[in-house]
């Protein structure tokens, strides 16, 4: 099958959906010029009326998407860097997430919010920080992170078609990762985890660049420890069914996430596993996350963030 880079898989999803449905449009800052390649040259095909640049006005930029979504459009609002969305957290998380339910579950706001994050690129906190932990606590939003080119296209396509507001923070660590991507349109479920490698000794949850690290560790340890590697994909809601089914087999769990250790996905899954499946566990649940400190911009992030060595250590700990 033809191979595409992750970021170009996103681009193809947006392009095909914009061709399919004239209500789909992109709004952001310098999306016409394509600061990130997923909107590069789309303005040539769709024009500035559908690839819409705004001033640096995140509130009104998001409002363009939110308000028009309430009137039946299907916008993609691109925050460039994921943490920029947090300059308008009230708008993106609270207003957007809650309005459907609070207003009687009558009028959906079908918009996609997206932006890039990723630790390890020497970009420092503001350009690097993961936001899925913050947004997954906002009721009414779907928070989804694809980690392979194939998933990126299917997830973006499904998110654009879904009536929920969907937040997709994608990781720069996999931006140029290449992989097979079908040319035709397809959807992947927004609320299902994906088993990336089957195994029997330990379940490892990992997303984005950490998924690549986990798969490398699984290769390295094969013959010694059999790792089942699962990409959670959906951070809100969390697909506990896939995780618990895997634990039935492995009885051991390591959760890898570049997000801070405190109160995020890893903490929630650990708590739920203890609550719902304590008897399945043969070892403590291990979390491999970023320590609770600002993300430094220099070389220190290399040993602060999760990496293959830390993943291997955690896997060996729970299998000891």
């Amino acid at each position: 099958m033809r191979e595409l880079a992750f970021v170009n898989a996103i681009r193809e999803a947006i392009q095909q959906e914009m061709r399919r449905d004239e209500k789909v449009f992109v709004v952001g800052q310098d999306v016409r010029g394509g600061v990130y390649p997923h909107t590069l040259n789309l303005v040539d095909e769709f024009g500035p009326e559908r690839i819409v640049d705004t001033p640096i006005s995140e509130s009104a930029m998001h409002g363009t998407a939110f308000g028009s979504a309430l009137l039946g459009y299907r916008p993609i609002v691109d925050f460039m860097f994921a943490s920029t969305a947090m300059t308008v957290f009230t708008e993106t998380a609270v207003m957007t997430g809650q309005q459907y339910f609070l207003h009687g579950s009558k009028r959906p706001a079908p918009l996609v919010m997206t932006g890039a994050w990723g630790i390890g690129k020497r970009t420092a906190n503001d350009h690097a920080m993961p936001i899925h932990g913050y947004y997954s606590r906002a009721p009414g939003l779907r928070v989804v992170i694809p980690s392979t080119p194939y998933d990126a296209k299917g997830i973006f396509t499904a998110a654009i078609r879904d009536d929920s507001p969907v937040m997709i923070p994608w990781c720069t660590g996999v931006m140029m990762l290449k992989g097979p991507v079908p040319e035709e349109s397809y959807e992947l479920p927004l609320d299902k985890a994906s088993i990336k490698r089957e195994g029997s000794d330990v379940t490892v949850l990992a997303n984005s660049e950490q998924l690549q690290f986990a798969l490398k560790v699984a290769d390295k340890l094969s013959g010694e420890i059999s790792m089942e590697v699962i990409d959670p994909i959906s951070f809100s809601p969390i697909d506990m069914e896939t995780i618990l089914n895997s634990l039935e087999k492995t009885n051991r769990l390591v959760i890898v996430d570049e997000d801070w250790e405190m109160g995020g996905f890893a903490a929630t899954v650990a708590a739920r596993v203890v609550d719902e499946a304590f008897d399945l566990l043969d070892a403590p649940v291990k979390r491999v996350c970023f320590p609770n400190m600002p993300i430094p911009g220099g070389f220190m992030e290399d040993y602060l963030r999760p990496n293959p060595e830390k993943i291997e250590r955690a896997v060996r700990d729970v299998c000891a």
Binding site: T54, L70, Q98, H103, D163, S164
Partner: protein
């Protein structure tokens, strides 16, 4: 007055209706029959009546929060019974009893409300964007108070509406007070519309925002301009707030109580009194017509109260409510 007789009658009728609904809500709050807060509109209903009375059902309205928008909505032609029920937490409410006072009426193009001041500028930007592209001549009536002009959201919303020439009427109900804070202290210019002027948005200042007819004379051309592709207008109506910010709160200027003399002077500028004097002085309506309008409005209010009181409070199961958090998956997408 350039308004024709049907405009005059409509404005006067909506003003009386708004006044009676507002007073009913105030008394129901005092009786403990409303849930949440209530921010009375008393004294400041003329702007909302003028803002709403010339909108079609297809136009998009973002009401001012004072009086929780009843004034604006009933003037737009919306049956507000489900809102009165909503404010009592009833299942017949416009949001199934889930919103209380940050409500929506999606069926009548009222939606996106939250409690954050200045938040109106957020969805209104998108409403304007969509309205311009829909090509149906829709306009967006974006209502807010002087307090909202302190937010960055207001600057951003005004900026984009000007850049893109969106069909939005930015309608500032400047009552001079945000909770206790005086606009003279919180804002450096005499008029808030100076901000719009700086962004190249045509603006109109209505010095007497107690006079519903004077405001309507500013609103009608602004709506016509927006509808015909002429872009946004900023209207600033200077009005009065007769009551405290929200029921149960103190009524201060800065940090000291408002003077008794201020209340007495304000009551002379009651919008109902001002409008009644004008229609009688200029023989636009007869006393018996006015009496009829009052009686009919009282019946409407009684009916809404009965509807709210007789509606049940429902307690859906947690699982049923959880199933309503996300919209159902669309089927049949090719």
């Amino acid at each position: 007055m350039d308004l024709d007789i049907s405009d005059t009658r409509r404005l006067f009728t909506n003003l009386i209706r708004a006044d009676k609904f507002g007073k009913m809500m105030y008394s129901r709050m005092m009786q403990g029959k409303l849930i949440g807060f209530y921010h009375p509109a008393e004294g400041a209903i003329a702007p909302g009546v003028a803002a709403g009375s010339f909108l079609t059902d297809d136009d998009i309205l973002f009401p001012h929060h004072r009086g929780h928008g009843i004034t604006h909505m009933l003037s737009k032609g919306i049956d507000v019974k489900p809102y009165i029920a909503e404010h009592a937490g009833k299942s017949t409410g416009c949001c199934a009893g889930r919103a209380a006072w940050h409500y929506a009426f999606p069926e009548h193009n009222v939606f996106g409300t939250t409690a954050y001041i200045g938040h109106n500028f957020v969805p209104c930007t998108g409403f304007g964007w969509a309205a311009k592209r829909n090509g149906r001549g829709q306009v967006v009536m974006n209502c807010f108070g002087d307090g909202a002009m302190g937010t960055g959201r207001s600057h951003e919303g005004l900026l984009l509406s000007s850049n893109w020439q969106l069909p939005i009427i930015h309608f500032c109900e400047n009552n001079g007070l945000s909770i206790f804070a005086e606009v003279e202290e919180m804002h450096p210019t005499e008029h808030l519309s100076t901000v719009a002027q700086g962004l190249n948005i045509p603006h109109v200042i209505v010095e007497d925002g107690q006079d519903v007819f004077a405001i309507a004379e500013a609103v009608i051309p602004a709506i016509e301009r927006a509808r015909s592709g002429g872009g946004p207008t900023f209207i600033e109506a200077k009005c009065l707030r007769f009551k405290e910010h929200d029921i149960g709160n103190r009524d201060l200027r800065g940090w000291t109580p408002r003077e008794e003399s201020e209340y007495a002077a304000m009551l002379e500028r009651d919008p109902v009194k001002v409008a009644t004097k004008r229609v009688l002085d200029e023989s636009l309506l007869s006393q018996s017509e006015i009496d009829q309008i009052h009686e009919q409005a009282e019946r409407e209010v009684d009916e809404a109260v009965r509807f709210a009181d007789e509606s049940p409070v429902e307690s859906p199961l947690e699982a049923e409510l959880l199933a309503d958090v996300y919209p159902p998956k669309k089927t049949g997408v090719v």
